[in-house]
Amino acid sequence: MNLKLRALTKSIWVFHVSAGSCNNCDIETLDCFTPRFDVERFGIQLIGSVRHADALLITGAMNKKSIPRMKKVYGQAPKPCFVIACGTCACSQHMFRDSYNVGEPLDKILPVDVYIPGCPPKPEAIIAGIVKLVDKVRKGK
């Protein structure tokens, strides 16, 4: 395993994108950075700009308005960039599946690396998902 990949998995900067979620996943995501869970121990940081991102954490079912924006945001992130689908809405559109304003599911639009189910997922589940992502990257796709 090369140095670049090792460094990447040791300092993942997460850009948090809400594609029309109900805010529960967002709150649980922020819980990961509180003293009880403290993911900064593993070098994970929330950052403000997409240009600094190593991972996009996407919450919410994608509606027709947010699909083009989501593609744009993914295009703006420097590669290699991972996509994390956080919450059942982002994974499989949950109860919005046949809704009139919901388009394609997330994994038809962006290459999703890890799915974190749950409504909302507990912070433990989010951390477990990120551990799976790190394992996957280290073993090389």
Partner: protein, 303 residues
């Protein structure tokens, strides 16, 4: 050859970058402990830099060449200051007369580089950040230079860093006088603003303007900006130690003083919310400049 060595390796780039990154880790660890967290491992900042070197560099459409060149401008200036200060500590009289003024100029250049880079990136939020940084520079430079003038008067008008050190080793540290203590108080605030830390991180406000001046940077240029910041975190406290606590600069005392100063910076950072830009300007041009002027007056009276 020897000057190249000292620029690139020992008191210069490599050494100051390592110390600065470790100081950055100290900052993050202490912040984490203050918030009852555990905090990152010691190699975290090195890992961040290595990771950024491996990322893609995105250049926004229509941005100028200055977008990619300005990070290096800041880095070169910061490394030059680090080299000069390091050499002055090792052999105080090797430098030329007036290097204090050169250092004062060079310390402004990283902020100027940030402004140039942000303006070249054609991003509205970056231009907001650049304008804030510009106003902040105008705000803190006046009291910063005034308090250093107070020190120059205090040490009988020498403008060479080595001679300031020698003066203090004979007559005692500048801090232990009325004007020195006041000037130190002023310089603590200016240092906070120069480092872009919390009450004055107005130009970079992550929650508000999404990274501000650094918003369009990714990969290598971002890593260079982070390195510049780390080197400034090494250089500025060292500069302040030389000016105010220059009596005993043997290595143990130097490290202890440096850690104390970083601790003060981190505590200020963690206990103060971010100010608005107008509040910061009022703060710097009001009470802080006034105290600096009083310090100059006291120094003229010989206190």
């Amino acid at each position: 050859m020897k000057s190249l060595f000292s620029y690139l390796i020992f008191p210069g780039f490599l050494f100051s970058a390592c110390v600065g990154l470790m100081a950055g880790w100290f900052d993050r660890k202490v912040s984490a402990r203050l918030q009852w967290r555990i905090g990152p491992p010691w190699h975290q900042n090195f890992t961040d830099i290595i990771k950024l070197l491996g990322k893609e560099v995105i250049v926004p459409k229509g941005s100028q060449l200055t977008f990619l060149l300005s990070p290096y401008l800041g880095l070169i200036a910061a490394v030059l200051v680090a080299t000069g200060l390091g050499r002055s500590i090792i052999s105080p009289l090797a430098s030329f007369s007036g290097d204090l003024i050169v250092v004062l100029y060079l310390l402004t250049i990283p902020a100027v580089a940030l402004i140039i880079g942000a303006s070249a990136s054609r991003n509205p939020l970056a231009s907001v950040g650049a304008s804030r940084e510009m106003k902040l520079v105008l705000g803190y430079e006046l009291p910063f230079i005034l308090s250093i003038i107070a020190l120059i008067i205090k040490s009988k008008g020498v403008i060479q860093i080595g001679q300031v050190i020698i003066y203090q080793s004979i007559f005692g540290s500048n801090f232990f006088s009325l004007s020195g203590a006041l000037a130190f108080l002023v310089i603590i605030f200016c240092m906070q603003a120069k480092l872009g830390l919390s009450p004055f991180e107005i130009s970079e406000a992550e929650q508000e303007i999404m990274g501000g001046t650094l918003i369009e940077y990714s990969g290598l240029p971002l890593a260079v900006f982070k390195l510049t910041k780390a080197i400034m975190l090494y250089t500025l406290p060292l500069f302040v130690i030389i000016l105010f606590f220059g009596r005993d600069l043997s290595s143990v005392f130097l490290i202890a003083k440096y850690l104390m100063l970083i601790l003060i910076i981190v505590l200020i950072k963690n206990t103060n919310p971010r100010l608005r830009i107008d509040q910061a300007l009022k703060f710097f041009w009001g009470p802080v400049t006034l105290s600096a002027l009083i310090a100059v007056g006291l120094a003229l009276l010989g206190r």
